[in-house]
């Protein structure tokens, strides 16, 4: 007997349909799985055999051949267990259902027949919908995630018996529903709010500008000055994610297996803060069994590199291309796959080795040369991607104790949304969405200065000793500041403020 059951595999962040073909014939008893499976797939045999037997069903003592088609695509993980078991049960007519091709099965089996959760459910469910499949059968712990996909019947199960009873018409499983709109709107809340940050008017302003134009930024300040604190609050002032963005972020987190239990959708922009000892692979993704790296987990959110001078030069170097392209491409032997990586990059650094260079209350024990060298390490490729430099001074005790009301993130976000909307409208059809993405040719068009503006910029370069790389960055940031004020042209004040955000280009930092 031959049977065909549908399941789903993953490449990059997308699913593809896998057809599980089961052939059972007479001959010396054997159990073979072909179709480029990895170890976990091959070990599937043992789990399936035990699960079927322990459920009280018959495991055929014949020659069993399973083919996972398409056979040229590498397959990994334990998510095919359920479909393999059902293939055998169908081929031996223990399961009878004429509409099986309208089903897709995902799940790992335990030896006693329980169905256990797997990673990557969301992309698989999306893939099922696109392939015209009506029902998706999956572990109950994954139900919330799949139920986000509208137009698909989600049938959650605990064990093999439940699905057999359903397919044989003995005890149908109820379709699983969630209130997607409700979840989407109610879940957008940030525990961390800018209102917690006392004082720091200049830092907040700079971050609002950064958020408004999606500009990468670096914060330089002594330990304890609040860099980490404000960075963590940055997602709360970024524009709210659209449903499509949320889906994409959830897909990535699902594949990486870091989606929290009972979560159907990630609705807040991610904030990822990898430690400086992180490996290159964990940072950008890849590995023998490819997984998205931190930069992809931060997709549509914030990638925060705290104490960035401590990161290895190599790690910073591998970030360069993905940051440029917004995507990580991983080459495999017989294919290449990609993970999206459109994150806003936020760096934090102490001003010098001892950390006290900007602190008025403590002594910096570094020589001028050491001060230069410390941040000098960052120069080049990475600093070239940073539009905004922010110097963070510690707030005084007095201000920390003050009960003066600080502005809430929601209010700031409203303004940011407005500025982003202007950019979206302006760049329609240009394949860019924010000022930070402006290419040199576009800068000439969209960031025009009048004569006075040109004069101001020229004298800033002369008198402040800015380095040449600052030029285009100042113009982009000035464009954002003008957008924040809903001004068509870049006025002198906009340009002047933008010049303030290039402090690391100044003489006192780079000698």
């Amino acid at each position: 007997m031959l049977s065909k059951i549908k399941s789903c595999g993953l490449v990059g962040i997308d699913g593809y349909i896998v057809e599980v073909e089961t052939d059972i014939s007479s001959g010396i008893p054997a159990f073979e799985i072909v179709g480029l499976g990895d170890t976990a797939v091959r070990e599937s045999k043992e789990r399936v055999r035990a699960a079927i037997k322990n459920t009280g069903l018959e495991f055929p003592v014949r020659r069993i051949t399973i083919n996972l088609a398409p056979a040229n695509q590498r397959k990994e993980g334990s998510a095919f267990d359920l479909s393999i078991a059902l293939g055998i049960l169908t081929a031996t007519e223990q399961v009878n259902n004429p509409a099986l091709d309208k089903y897709l099965f995902i799940g790992e089996l335990s030896l006693d027949g329980e169905v256990k959760p797997v990673n990557g459910i969301l992309p698989m469910a999306i893939c099922a919908l696109n392939a015209g499949i009506e029902n998706i059968v999956l572990p109950i712990a994954n139900a919330d995630e799949a139920a986000v996909v509208r137009g698909l019947n989600v049938l959650p199960i605990r064990n093999i018996s439940e699905i057999i009873n359903h397919l044989n018409g003995e005890k149908p499983i109820d379709r699983y529903y969630i209130d997607i709109e409700g979840i989407f709107s109610s879940n957008i809340n940030h525990e961390l709010d800018f209102a917690d940050v006392k004082g720091q008017a200049n830092v907040k302003r700079a971050l609002e500008v950064a958020a408004s134009g999606a500009h990468n930024c670096i914060m330089v300040g002594s330990p304890g000055s609040g860099k980490t604190m404000v960075a963590k609050r940055l997602p709360s002032i970024l524009p709210s994610m659209t449903f499509e963005e949320a889906l994409e972020v959830t897909k990535i987190h699902s594949i990486a297996g870091i989606l929290p239990q009972k979560t159907s959708l990630i609705t807040n922009r991610p904030f990822r803060s990898p430690h400086h000892t992180i490996s290159d692979i964990s940072l950008i993704g890849g590995g023998k069994y490819p997984r998205p790296g931190e930069i992809s987990l931060a997709h549509y959110g914030v990638l925060f590199l705290d104490e960035v001078p401590e990161f290895s030069k190599d790690a910073l170097e591998v970030l360069r291309q993905p940051l440029e392209d917004g995507v990580v491409t991983i080459s495999r032997v017989n294919a290449s796959l990609s993970y999206p990586a459109k994150a806003m990059l936020v760096l934090a650094a102490n001003p010098c080795k001892c950390g006290n260079f900007l602190d008025n209350t403590k002594q910096c024990t570094c020589t001028p040369k050491q001060v230069q060298q410390y941040l000098g390490k960052l120069s080049g490729p990475l600093l070239d991607r940073i539009d905004i430099h922010i110097e963070v001074a510690s707030v005084k005790y007095k201000e920390l104790e003050s009960d003066k009301e600080e502005e809430k993130s929601a209010l700031i976000r409203e303004r940011v949304n407005k500025a982003r909307k202007i950019q979206l409208d302006r760049y329609k059809g240009l394949k860019i969405f924010s000022n930070s993405q402006l290419q040199p040719a576009m800068i000439n068009k969209f960031c025009r200065l009048d004569d006075k503006g040109k004069e101001l910029l020229r004298s800033a370069f002369d008198r402040l000793g800015l380095s040449a790389r600052a030029h285009n960055r100042i113009l982009k940031v000035a464009r954002t500041i003008a957008d924040m004020e809903e001004s068509g042209e870049i006025k002198l004040a906009h340009l002047a403020e933008a010049i303030q955000y290039r402090s690391l280009d100044r003489r006192f930092w780079n000698g």
Partner: protein
């Protein structure tokens, strides 16, 4: 120079012979050549020489080295002034452990009004500012500014003097073939051109820690008085102050903020009787330099900012900055100007040369 000098250089290089021993030997033998030729028995009769030192004085290897020292001195275009030379600075000559030899790049003068300015290597912007101003004002009045070319206060005192077009002397704790600290290479060059860089150490001697206290005695010894700006409790500047007192020099201290560790040493000096400096006249009085009577403004007190050509916002900012350098957040709060406008206004003022930006978004008035 030549034959005559080699004995001086030799004497300077003998282990165990410091400034004090050298001057005792010279008193007895009159010139280094006589010491070179002295017999062992003769040396043994001198109560201030140990047996080891006598061996060193007779040591052939040490004598042979002198040629090489001399060669290095020539190669680095270093001048040598002996304590018997007419040019030897007269104040320095008067201290009891005056160095027998001075290595010099630049010009020394025998008799000039000199004031030393020393202080912390890790000074605050206030301290640096005061160093530069006092250096500048003294030079404008024809006083030669002496310091140690160290980071912080020293360097700024030299550059203040150079800005005024004055003479300045740097006394180093290493041979003149070494620039220490290395980033001061351009500064050293300028000091050589408009004053002198001085050391009692032969070329090749590295800036090791034990040289610095000895160097400090020259700084105070060559000066009529020592101005100390920002010194914490364990600062080398306090050693210089001690030398100055022993040598009968005036000690001046610039008062500092009592909350700053950088002021602990200077404020202590004031408590112990050092002369407080709140005006350049406080220094001039003691060293009998008089400025022309029509020029009586208090030079160290920050001048009221020139408000001509400033609009009302700029004026408010300038007034605040005339009190003290201020962080941008505080400036915005005090002046009730919102932070984005403040950013823009400050850049404009900076470009017009009215304010200056320091690391950490702190602004100060530019003089």
């Amino acid at each position: 120079m030549g034959q005559h000098l080699i004995h001086w250089v030799w004497l300077n290089s003998v282990p165990g012979i410091g400034a004090r021993r050298a001057s005792q030997l010279l008193e007895y033998f009159e010139c280094p050549e006589n010491i070179w030729n002295a017999r062992k028995e003769e040396l043994s009769r001198l109560p201030f020489l140990t047996r080891k030192t006598i061996e060193n004085l007779m040591d052939k290897k040490i004598r042979d080295e002198s040629e090489k020292h001399l060669e290095r001195i020539y190669n680095h275009k270093i001048k040598v002034i002996t304590i018997k030379d007419d040019l030897y600075p007269c104040y320095l000559k008067s201290i009891y452990d005056a160095p027998p030899l001075l290595f010099v790049k630049g010009q020394v003068e025998k008799d000039e009004k000199t004031i030393a300015i020393v202080g912390s290597r890790r000074a605050t912007s206030y301290g640096l500012d005061m160093a530069e101003r006092i250096g500048y004002e003294l030079s404008k009045l024809g006083v030669t500014v002496v310091s140690g070319m160290a980071r912080g206060i020293d360097s700024r005192a030299h550059s203040g003097s150079l800005k005024a077009g004055g003479r300045t002397l740097a006394v180093l704790g290493c041979g003149l073939d070494t620039v220490y600290p290395p980033e001061n290479k351009p500064l050293m060059q300028r000091i050589e051109e408009s004053g002198a860089v001085i050391s009692e150490y032969l070329p090749g001697v590295k800036p090791v820690a034990q040289n610095f206290p000895a160097r400090n005695r020259i700084i105070s010894g060559i000066s009529l008085g020592v101005v100390i700006i920002e010194a914490n409790e364990k600062s080398g500047s306090l050693i210089t102050a001690d030398f100055a007192l022993e040598q009968g020099r005036e000690v001046f201290a610039v008062p500092g903020n009592i909350t700053s560790s950088n002021s602990k040493g200077t404020n202590k000096l004031i408590r112990e009787g050092a002369k407080i400096v709140t005006d350049i006249d406080d220094i001039l009085e003691e060293i009998k330099v008089h400025r022309s009577s029509n020029n009586k403004e208090h030079r160290l007190v920050v001048k009221k900012p020139q408000f001509d050509g400033l609009d009302s916002d700029e004026r408010i900012i300038a007034e605040q900055l005339s009190i003290e350098p201020t962080h941008i957040d505080l400036l915005a709060e005090k002046s009730k100007i919102n932070i984005q406008e403040m950013n823009a206004i400050l850049i404009m003022m900076e470009l017009r040369g009215i304010v200056e930006q320091l690391p950490g978004k702190i602004f100060k008035l530019k003089e």
